[in-house]
Amino acid sequence: MTTSTPTNPYADLPGRAFWRSGVADLSPLELADIYQPRFPISQETPIAAAGSCFAQHIGRQFKQRGYNFLDLEPPPAILAKDRHAEFGFDLYSARYGNVYSARQLLQLFQRANGSFKPKEPIWETDGRFYDPFRPNIQQGGYGSEASVLKDREFHLQKTLELLAKAELFVFTFGLTESWVCRADGAVLPTCPGTVAGHYDAAKYTFHNFSFQEVLADTEAFIALARQHNPQMRFLFTVSPVPLTATASGAHVLAASVYSKSVLRAVCGTLAETHDFVDYFPSYELVASHPMRAMFFEPNLRAVSAAGVAHVMDVFFTAHGAGARAADPSGVKVDKATEDDLVCEEELLEAFSS
């Protein structure tokens, strides 16, 4: 009897390991085995989500497909759906708005557990008041500083509760570029003077996070989360949406590639390091060159409804939940819904000239 011995380490690898059989010979729509879940996610698993604006799609899809997606700050039932996004409802698991960077994520939960108390005061613009850490959470701001503070106190309490209630935390990494308060390093989701506030170079500074910083911040967030729930697992993904603008001095394309590369590398490192971390390749499914940019809108930035549906189908099919057809309510990614996405980055364009 003879036993076959591989002639080299590649000999017995599956087709997905080779470019030709894994990519070149396939339609871009056939790369289903690009994602093999590390752990199961059942419809009963309590799920929390945060991230950049692309993450809104993920939360929405979990809800539409009947998963146990947590929302600890739900809208009043009487509030019309077409007004939810205006007040940051129905976007994530609490009303924190978009969380673009790992540092912002970490500081959000540090603020929630009281270990970080930023010095940045409430912003006042044209007689309206804004929370600098979620300036777009109520479009047009609040009528008083007291109103902002009451809402924030409740919001942070619910944000902390998430860590106790969730068993899976889904985070979509968006950017490495941030605006930071010089006084204490507090990271702001938007540059002061765009959505609200006033830009002052003496108070705020630009920072482009390095691989080491993003990794350390995410590790710190993981540790914080698992202090509250030692069983917490994490699903990380990288938004395929490029930067609207960069303050790095680089060309915006190069700056986007830097950001996404750092974030992708961090995700890979975390997935290698921890068996409770999974990585889902949203970025690859939309923005890698085999996709030929077909899932982008003509501006090559916004992801089309078809692109979102494709990405989410790959995810849910891998988890045994089937593609959209299996969902009795259907996954309607209609134009109106797409327009509802809250993406402060878009506002940068208004300030580009």
Binding site: P76, I78, A80, F87, Q138, S147, D151, F154
Partner: protein, 237 residues
């Protein structure tokens, strides 16, 4: 010009008041359109024949009580709808949440802006209907629904009366602001129907419905009489 008054269930007290006052049926016709729940969806459409109801139950009642297929400019129309706040405060949401300026500890504070958006969500289809009637050149006015009551079952379930009053007053203010912006006349309820706490006074409350069920929402015939007297005064002006 003949006047036709219609609307949601609050038209019931107006009709009783009309009868109590012995007012002539020749000048004023009162009829119900149907439940106020239907106001949460678009319920009208503008056609070549005039404004009609896309909500079948409303349209059926329009045809049944008036013989007309649409609202037209040959009649002055009074609508009793839009200023009642029951849908806004009845839900379980307000058991745990309160408007932020009266919010107590451990309750969820709801900003004035979110509350205003809730009110707009609740009133939007009534507002759209009234604006369409106005745009069509049809004479119209709006009659106030009664103020909220603090004997609402929601209070038994833990809702603070102060929250009801706050929401009711904000909703009324938002609605009357809309009417003023659109130059639509409003026949408001007089101060005498409101008690010291800001709710419908006990003597104007309907206590038991015709089917024997407790009522914690509507005005009675005395309330209807007060309002129909005001309507008559308005029409005389």
């Amino acid at each position: 010009m003949r006047t036709m008054i219609c609307g949601n269930s609050h038209v019931g007290s107006l009709a009783k008041g009309h009868k109590l006052l012995g007012l002539s049926d020749d000048a004023i016709t009162l009829f119900p359109l149907g439940t106020g729940r239907k106001e949460l969806h678009p319920f009208h459409e503008v056609t070549a024949a005039g404004v009609r109801f896309s909500e079948p139950s409303y349209q059926a009642n329009l045809e049944k009580f008036t013989g007309r297929a649409a609202l037209g400019p040959d009649v002055r129309w009074g609508f009793c709808m839009g200023s009642h706040s029951g849908r806004l405060f009845r839900g379980r949401f307000w058991k745990w949440a309160e408007p932020d300026d009266i919010c107590r500890p451990k309750k969820r504070p709801i900003s004035a802006e979110v509350l205003e958006a809730c009110i707009e969500s609740d009133q939007r289809h009534v507002r759209a209907f009234l604006a369409a009637v106005k745009d069509a050149g049809i004479p119209l006015f709006v009659i106030a629904c009664p103020p909220a009551r603090d004997d609402n079952p929601a209070v038994d379930r833990g809702l603070r009366p102060e929250v009801i009053r706050h929401i009711d007053q904000r909703a009324l203010a938002a609605f009357t602001a809309f009417l003023a912006e659109n130059n639509i006349d409003f026949v408001a309820f007089p101060p005498e129907v409101v008690d010291r706490k800001g709710f419908l006074a006990e003597k104007y409350r309907l206590i038991t419905q015709a089917n024997g069920q407790r009522d914690a929402h509507h005005g009675n015939e005395a309330y209807g009489a007060v309002m129909m007297r005001r309507v008559a005064d308005y029409l005389d002006r």
